[in-house]
Amino acid sequence: MNIKIADSLLREYLDTKASAVEIAKYLSLCGPNVEKIQKTKQGYVYDIEVTTNRVDLMAVYGIARELSAILPRFGIAARLKPIRLASKPKTKNQVSFEVIINPKIINRAVGVVLGDIKTFETPEWMKNRLISSEIRILGAPVDITNYIMLELGQPMHVFDYDLIRTKKFKIRESKKGEKVVSLDGKEHVLSGGDVVIDDTTGKIIDLPGIIGTKNSVVNKKTKRVILFTENNDPVRMRRTSMYLGIRTLAATINEKGVDPTQTTLGILRGIKLFSDICKAKPLGDIVDIGYKKPEPKTVKVNYSYIKEFLGTEIEKNKIVSYLTPLGFKAKWTGETLDVLVPSFRQKDVSIKEDLIEEIARIHGYQNLPSRLMSGKLPKARSDDFLIFEKKLKNMLFCLGGSEIYTSSLIGFFDEHAYKLKNPMGIDSTYLRTSLFPGLLRASDENRTKKKFHIFELSNVYLPVKRNLPNEKPMLSGIFFGYEYRKSKGVIEALLKMLQIEAIYEQVDEMPFLPERCLLIKSEGKRIGKLGYVDKDTLYYEFDPELLKKIHKEYPKYKKPLKYPHQIEDITLTLPLRTKVGKVIDAIKKSSKFIDEVDLYKIYKDNFTFRVWYINPHKTMTNNEVEKIRNNYLKEVRKHFGARVKN
């Protein structure tokens, strides 16, 4: 969460000669990060990112306190100035109101009635500071509440006292379907369980901690106001605010859990500002309901632990000097540091590591040493598959493939796929069970490129009953605009590089066109498939885990052959619709002396094969080759009607 603070407002609470640029730089290094520093008509404005554990920094006073600890570390003096408060009112004529709370949903409620409002005009200096923080100007009573929120981080509200007929606040849970109109005129339907203020007649007069309602808002005719604030249940605050989409600064602060000891501070500061600006005065005593004072909290840490943890030594008195300006009361007893945690830090400081963080950051992370760890190495090794995966990607890269990443989240494709409860869009609702839809989409986007080969090696998410999905890596790709033999050649080359001997089987299978799918098998397992999904698009996929299992990283060494191959080309005329793959298989199978058969050339129905003969024990004679040749020619004539050309 971010807060914008005018430099002039910060200096109301911090006495320092540091420049705005210095403040931004050093605050970022040791405290909350100043994301931007802007020069505006109203002067410098800091845009500060505050972490959720430090709601005390969503206020000028908290930032000033941090700086009073940080700036001296950079040699710049800085002093935190006190908050100017009114003293507790003591009036004779009690104009008051009653507050009824449900302690389960609210920790503390404080308010006071103020009257005799003489002016509704907000002074320029206050306007400028509110504008710097991007807060709308709405007239003095509301502006004062917003200004206090900026100063102290205590969201406040004012009601028109005379618009509340019952003079009673009942703080209760909303019922589902109840409606409210917020002060900006928008109607909201509540989901139930929201914290609301009811005037005891069933009418909702406020969404406390989030936004005011139209029916109780102050206006120019207002004579008397109730200045009111409460300490809320942060969980309900976030739920209501997110559900209704009302992300006010008040809601952002309240959903983080505000320090309940500071609630009255807001009221006392309010009485002071109302009296200074509106010339108003309190008409009764402060109403304060539900407050339970938090138990004091102490944390101890040992000196040697600090030293080991930081990897360096910081003097004991320095440690105390770092913690004191932050509001901690720190004392050394021998080697033990006893620290009393201030109320506004009780939520985030509980263990010794929390204290070490405070010490280390004020000391400055930039001042800590930097050295790699020594010590023994783990027994574990990197996951084997990740190494293989990289190898596969590199092979496809070398074979001309372009790697792509498509989203794991896709539109409807497989009814069994895991579905998201809260997707961002209809086309990113399911966890993919196949890489196919994503690749096809990518391929369609690139159709103007005429010819390409894309591939992806990523997880798919296969359903498992009552458990997390099986996150299974898949390797898929698309050849677009490739001649069939060129694309199949790439697949064959990949398998060859992996030293996998594959057999192919032409089948009918979805999502391929009829009879346009080829199964790829090895060692009796189906390792992949390829086929046409439209006339220009050849899709393939492999199970990379199986590839890893079957491939040979270090095949058994074979001695080079002593005798040369006899190589001859033979052209066969094949009848229409002969499957050439089967002819080659038949030739290979016909003799153990045939080492390899390649398809060398195709011209019309004439297929030239290059046949490699080998006998490991001798050089083959022409006579021997002729015998083998005649044998397979007989075979292919018989089975395929193949005839030798010429």
């Binding site: 931004a24 970022s28 909350p32 990060n33 931007k36 520093i37 959720t52 430090r54 997110m242 959903e255 943890f309 930081l310 990897g311 263990i351 590591e353 929390d354 963080e357 280390a360 992370y365 930039q366 800590l368 040493p369 930097s370 050295r371 790699l372 760890m373 010590g375 023994k376 190495l377 783990p378 027994k379 990197s382 996951d383 990289k390 990607k393 590199n394 890269f397 074979l399 001309g400 372009s402 790697e403 792509i404 989203s407 989240l409 895991y418 998201l420 409860k421 961002m424 990113s428 986007e445 690139n446 490129k449 390409f452 894309i454 990523s458 997880n459 998410y461 009552r466 997390l468 996150e471």
Partner: protein
């Protein structure tokens, strides 16, 4: 006369060698071997030579004629064949398809290499996780905003009786407890792991995509300090960015580390002036911190004996900070347009 003939031969050998065209060669042939050529003149002169030398002069002339003839023939062939086999070396080569490796893969490889050099092992832990591993065991309180459905994707499924709802992990930190459990099960009490996986968050803008990659470092040992965390980060920065960029550690807050840091690196795109991707010239690389004692405990490591540190950064974010890369919108990285992909 013998001497003259020998000189003539030497001269002829030299001149034939120097000739560059067939025409010139023909002129030389006529000059030496023609009907009224040099050799013919010597043949005519034989009759005036002393009788005892006549025979040997004849042999010499004949030899010379043979030599010149064969030289001319050879030279003619050389000149002719050069002309016949004219080659255009400027012809373009036959097109071979060249592939490309995705930048995210490249970044992951480079990051892995850096950490493997200092003894880290590479892991990939689940993307679809139980709440327990993503949040519960990491010390997130029950109502932490990251756990609500405005920030994290949830999967429609039964809740696990022990581990809670199923979700898409918003960070690689969910691998921390899994690695600790794994180490314990193999009897190891030292961890140096780098988990690189896909992660998911419900956001999309110039610096966020709903799906992205993170790398998570986790180191557990006795006697680790913040100095070791700094040392590791500095080592990475130097190796990955070549020592040219500045880094800074800032205080931050994560439930699973204490203390927590955010690491910033000086922005290369605007050279520190401030741009749409960075904040006042600094780009957030990601978080880091000392492992929270509760997390150590949840992973089976006694926090009184062991300490740990961890960091989890965006792969794309780190890669985009590479010098001169010039990608200023993370969504560009996941473009499937080949004219982008082919650049890498």
């Amino acid at each position: 006369m013998k001497e003259e003939i020998t000189n003539l031969r030497n001269q002829a050998v030299f001149r034939i060698n120097e000739v560059g065209s067939v025409d010139e060669l023909e002129k030389l042939r006529i000059f030496y071997l023609g009907r009224n050529g040099k050799l013919a003149q010597y043949i005519k002169a034989i009759k005036d030579a002393p009788k005892s030398e006549k025979k040997s002069i004849g042999v010499l002339i004949n030899d010379t004629k043979n030599v010149i003839e064969s030289l001319i023939t050879n030279k003619k062939n050389v000149i002719k064949s050069t002309v016949r086999e004219w080659v255009d070396m400027t012809l373009p080569g036959e097109q071979i398809d060249t592939g490309s490796i995705h930048v995210v893969t490249k970044a992951i490889d480079e990051i892995s290499r850096v950490f493997e050099n200092i003894g880290f092992v590479r892991r990939r832990y689940p993307e679809v996780e139980w709440d327990y591993f993503a949040f519960g065991s990491l010390n997130f309180d029950k109502w932490h905003p990251a756990r609500d459905e405005w920030e994290t994707f949830f999967v429609e499924s039964m809740e696990h009786p022990k581990y809670g709802p199923m979700l898409l992990t918003p960070h690689t930190s969910s691998g921390q407890i899994r690695e600790m459990q794994k180490a314990r099960s193999r009897g190891d009490d030292v961890i140096r792991m780098i988990n690189i996986s896909k992660t998911y968050r419900r956001q999309s803008d110039a610096s966020h995509t709903p799906m992205f990659h993170q790398f998570e470092g986790l180191v557990i040992d006795k006697n680790l300090s913040i100095a070791n965390l700094k040392g590791t980060i500095d080592y990475f920065m130097d190796s990955f960015f070549g020592g040219k960029r500045k880094a800074r550690l800032r205080p931050y807050n994560f439930p699973f580390t204490e203390p927590s840091f955010e690491i910033d690196i000086s922005c290369d795109i605007c050279k520190g002036r401030g741009c749409k991707l960075c904040k006042e010239g600094w780009l957030e690389l990601g978080g880091a911190g000392m492992v929270h004692p509760n997390v150590l405990k949840n992973g089976g490591f006694d926090p009184r004996i062991y300490r740990g540190f961890a960091f989890g950064w965006g792969v794309e974010r780190v890669f985009m900070m590479k010098e001169n890369l010039g990608i200023d919108d993370i969504r560009t990285i996941y473009s499937t347009d080949l004219s982008y992909l082919k650049q890498f």
